[in-house]
């Protein structure tokens, strides 16, 4: 016989003002199985919890119903309270009479009536609750970091620091990411390479870190604590273990007309290449699209000059499989493609560049050796116009609805650096708003305006037209002065919006993590769990989760590392006990459940059964791995024989709720 306790919370006046809580407690006390029914001011308070705990002990309760706020708020609180009083925590049910009753209804009589019905449904359900025990599953003490930019590097270093093995998978030939392409960093104006490259070296030398450069994730199986990941090491046609990175091959390579990705295509590289001097790993890679040997079978110069014998034109993609306990996603961002922005003449005029291109133009290792020259005629620009929010904060389908966050600051940085180095150059910045929250950020921007006399103009650029005399006509509006401007600029720099890397979405599918409509990974909770994905064991680092500057990225990278370490230090993890289970006597082995399981949690086993007709038969039956199952319940409906059921949300429990509500 059930002995159920009902506890009705006033939530101050939040509930009690609209619902007659006494009447609710009184009515529910008459429900079958209910032996105690009380109300209290704040059930979630310590004394409220004690009320529940004492009742459990005093009345030897077999089930508890709390009529209070949403279970999403305090279900755990009351489960813990029950557990501490010796009642299995899964024998607690919450009737949501605040969010779904008192807060939305005004009439006391009808709100009370509804609260009673919701309470009855919870009582009906708790009658059928079974004590559940969370299972355990071992944790593989190795982490995978996907992406080798500053986010990935920082996460890997922090995890390695804690003593765990960690692999970085980077799709490019070198780690370093976007930060390696950046010239100076705001607001300190120190050189990005000077702070990044030591970290890259540190990562490569750390005994706990393995870098898989020029590699991609091709498959992810498993679950928190026990992922099995297949990594595709793309053929680079150079034996990594032999190449010393001397660079002789890149010098001798006759094919030198390959657009250099690292310099945003502003200059060329050879077909065999090392992306930049400080690349890690410093290993050459052959670009098979341009290599004469690969395309025509005639050349082979690199192979001849390589004293290490590292060149291997026949190298194949390699697949390696590795187990991990935790996965950190750090796939970063890219500037958006500006093909749709004809008004800025990006595709028509070489002197209209993106901000990232400007970084390379100004960088000492860039195409011009650090001297700012116009890409078209290699002359000094004397008038430069910066356009903000190109594709950011857009209502239309061309751009992105969000603020890319970093553009205001890097534009101030660019403007300042140009004015510093070339005081004869006039700099205009067209902006919608200048957004500079952050430590020393606003001061930095004000220095650009006040100290460096950068012309900040509130307004949007309407049209950029290259003129025949080499100048660029920038037509804009000054919203403050309320006038139309024409500026004959030498260069135009576009602060292109940033977007998640294109590889993120297929990756999210493999990882079964959520993404928002902009393809940014969704965190488990926007405020309280910002570096975890909703999928257990998958963490988020850097701009893959949303636009971020370097300090924020590094902070989040370390936070993600801390979360991953928190998982890896455990020998085993507690699983959600609200998982599916198959009644083997009912299962007919048809495989429907397996087909709809998003986690691959269901396998089939051949098992011997004593059949009802006295025979012994070997039958194929479904078996759920409780550590893998996340408890969605898709299988329970796919199963025609009702063999599959879900703990905590069983068929009979839901039917009992339906019955109670429709009573």
């Amino acid at each position: 016989m059930q002995r159920i306790g009902v506890f009705v919370c006033h939530c101050g006046t939040n509930i009690a003002a609209t619902i007659d809580v006494k009447a609710v407690a009184e009515t529910l006390s008459k429900e079958p199985g209910v032996i105690v029914s009380q109300d209290y001011q704040y059930m979630c308070s310590e004394s409220g919890q004690n009320l529940v705990k004492n009742a459990i002990k005093e009345h030897n309760l077999t089930g508890v119903v709390v009529c209070s706020c949403s279970p999403r708020m305090h279900e755990n609180t009351f489960r813990k309270a029950a557990a501490s009083a010796g009642l299995n925590p899964y024998l607690v049910e919450i009737a949501n009479i605040r969010e779904q009753c008192s807060w939305i209804h005004k009439d006391i009589a009808s709100a009370t009536e509804k609260a009673i019905i919701l309470g009855k449904a919870a009582v009906a359900k708790v009658h059928l609750n079974a004590p559940l025990t969370a299972g355990e599953s071992p944790v593989v003490k190795r982490a995978l970091v996907i992406g080798g930019g500053i986010a990935g590097i920082q996460t890997a270093l922090d995890i390695a620091e804690a003593g765990f093995d960690v692999d970085i998978v980077e799709k490019n030939p070198t780690i370093g990411g976007k930060m390696a392409q950046i010239d100076k960093t705001f607001p300190t104006l120190d050189c990005a390479a000077c702070i990044l490259t030591p970290k890259m070296v540190e990562a490569s030398q750390n005994e706990h870190i393995t870098i898989h450069s020029f590699s991609e994730i091709s498959d992810v199986k498993g679950f928190v604590g026990n992922f099995t990941v297949t990594i595709k090491k793309k053929a680079r046609f150079v034996d990594e273990t032999k190449c010393t990175g001397c660079g002789l091959c890149t010098e001798k390579c006759p094919m030198k007309k390959v657009p250099n990705e690292f310099n945003m295509g502003l200059d060329n590289r050879s077909a065999i290449y090392i992306p930049f001097a400080q690349a890690v790993p410093k290993v050459a890679t052959i670009d098979p699209n341009y290599c004469m040997m690969m395309k025509t079978g005639k050349c082979g110069i690199c192979s001849k000059v390589c004293s290490a014998g590292a060149i291997d034109y026949k190298q194949q993609d390699q697949y390696i499989e590795q187990k991990y306990g935790a996965i950190v996603v750090a796939t970063g961002f890219n500037p958006i493609n500006l093909d749709k922005y004809d008004e800025f003449a990006y595709n028509q005029c070489p002197d209209v560049v993106t901000s990232l291109e400007l970084e390379r133009l100004m960088n000492a290792a860039g195409p011009n050796g650090g001297t700012l020259l116009r890409p078209s005629d290699k002359t000094h620009p004397h008038k430069i116009v910066f356009v903000q929010c190109v594709g950011s904060r857009c209502d239309d389908s061309k751009g992105k609805p969000y603020c890319s966050k970093i553009c205001c600051m890097y534009t101030a940085k660019h403007a300042m650096l140009i004015r510093e180095k070339y005081p004869d150059t006039e700099v205009y910045v067209f902006y919608i708003d200048v957004r500079t929250p952050g430590k020393n950020f606003d001061e930095f921007y004000r220095r650009a305006v006040e100290q460096y006399n950068v012309h900040y103009i509130k307004g949007m650029v309407g049209k950029v037209t290259p003129r025949s005399d080499g100048k660029i006509d920038v037509q804009a509006s000054d919203l403050l002065a309320n006038e139309q401007l024409h500026i004959d600029a030498d260069m135009v720099v576009l602060a292109a919006a940033i977007e998640p890397d294109k590889t993120a979405r297929p990756l999210a599918t493999m990882l079964t993590t959520q993404m928002d409509t902009n393809d940014f990974f969704t965190e488990a909770h926007p405020k309280l769990r910002p570096v975890e994905s909703a999928t257990a064991g998958i963490f988020l680092s850097g701009a893959c989760q949303g636009p971020k500057d370097i300090p924020e990225t590094v902070a989040q990278a370390s936070a993600a590392a801390a979360k991953a370490i928190g998982l890896l230090v455990k020998n085993s993890i507690t699983c959600n006990p609200c998982v599916a289970h198959s009644n083997e006597l009912m299962c007919n082995g048809c495989s429907s459940c397996e087909k709809v399981c998003p986690y691959g949690a269901i396998t089939y086993i051949d098992k011997e059964f004593k059949m009802p007709d006295r025979t012994v038969a070997i039958r194929r039956v479904a078996s759920v791995n409780p550590a893998v199952c996340q408890g969605c319940g898709a299988c329970t409906v796919a199963c025609p024989s009702g063999a599959m059921d879900l703990n905590g949300f069983s068929n009979s429990q839901i039917i009992a709720e339906v019955d109670a509500i429709c009573k």
């Binding site: 006597l585 009912m586 299962c587 007919n588 082995g589 048809c590 495989s591 429907s592 087909k595 709809v596 089939y604 038969a617 194929r620 796919a638 025609p640 024989s641 009702g642 063999a643 068929n651 009979s652 039917i655």
Partner: protein
């Protein structure tokens, strides 16, 4: 045809290829044929029959038979092969233990249709040039062959065997059947008319479970309607709701798995057109998710076990046709 089948069965038995044969056994009258397992040549000689009344789909029996020792010879009509394939897909049949001989199918006859003409005391039925000559106690009667054809054969979907070890006779093709005509007719009625139609049909249900027990897609170890733990167990159509519940849920459970073999309607003692429920699902699946024929192969995912990101929304129901 019967002769060729008997010879084939005897040959395979004597060669030791199979140790049993599943087929059909002659009854008391022209039409009361019983599916049967034969173990030797004499039994086959004596009572094996294949004629215009051997309509029963024997593939479901192979769920049990294929788990016994030795190989069994099964004569499968084209429609039966779809059921068989579907059962293989769902791991219900051990394929290696069955030797399939594909045989030409219908159209098969429905004794009920002959009786519905008022013809009674039937002693024998002969098909002469598609006119049935029916010998009765009350004298000879005639009726056109096609008026006595089973509903399931009147809208045959395929003459093609989708699985077999060997064939007797030629294989046919899948057909453009008119099998959705009645579904469409109902769809074009008003909701009230549809409701009235189904009430008049389903209220006849005596819950004998013949439709379920004959259905090759209903092979659960224990049906939810027999299982007190399921919450929907029931033995009788105690209320019009129960009639709806049983038939809706049963059709839903076989949706995407039903090959449209038509056995449910054939065996219904109350002549309820149960196949229309299954065909409604098949038609909807074809319309919403692309043509799908259950049992056509053993690899494709059942429509309810897969999805496309751009599937239509459920509310499409609210937007179309007659309310």
């Amino acid at each position: 045809m019967q002769e060729a089948m008997i010879n084939k069965a005897k040959q395979l038995l004597s060669e030791g290829v199979v140790n049993r044969v599943i087929g059909w056994k002659r009854g008391e009258f022209a039409y009361d044929i019983t599916p049967a397992v034969f173990e030797n040549a004499e039994e086959i000689e004596k009572s094996f029959v294949y004629d215009d009344f051997t309509a029963a789909n024997v593939s479901k029996y192979l769920v049990k038979e294929s788990k016994k020792d030795g190989k069994i010879l099964a004569f499968l009509k084209p429609c039966d092969t779809y059921s068989f394939n579907q059962l293989i897909k769902e791991h219900r049949i051990i394929r290696e233990n069955v030797y399939i001989v594909g045989i030409p199918g219908g159209p098969k006859l429905d004794a009920e249709k002959i009786k519905a003409k008022g013809i009674t005391g039937i002693l024998g039925v002969k098909n002469e040039n598609y006119t049935l000559k029916i010998d009765t106690i009350y004298g000879e009667e005639t009726m056109p062959f096609y008026e006595a054809v089973l509903d399931k054969c009147a809208s045959c979907k395929s003459k093609k065997h989708v699985i077999y070890d060997e064939l007797i006779g030629e294989d046919g093709d899948t057909l453009d059947s008119n099998r959705f005509d009645m579904v469409e007719k109902l769809e074009n009625m008003t909701a009230q008319e549809r409701y009235d139609f189904w009430r008049s049909q389903l209220s006849k249900c005596i819950r004998c479970n013949a439709c379920r027990n004959v259905c090759p897609a209903c092979t659960c170890e224990k049906c939810v309607f027999d299982n007190p733990d399921s919450g929907i167990e029931n033995k009788a159509p105690s209320d019009s709701f129960e009639e709806n519940m049983f038939h809706i849920i049963r059709a839903f459970h076989v949706a995407g798995r039903c090959t449209d073999c038509g056995e449910c309607s054939r065996v219904c003692p109350q002549n309820i057109p149960l196949h229309l429920l299954n065909r409604k699902f098949i038609k909807d699946i074809n319309t919403f998710y692309g043509e799908f024929q259950a049992g056509e192969d053993i690899t494709s995912l059942a429509p309810l076990n897969e999805f496309k990101q751009n599937d239509c929304e459920a509310n499409i129901i609210h937007e179309r046709g007659v309310e």
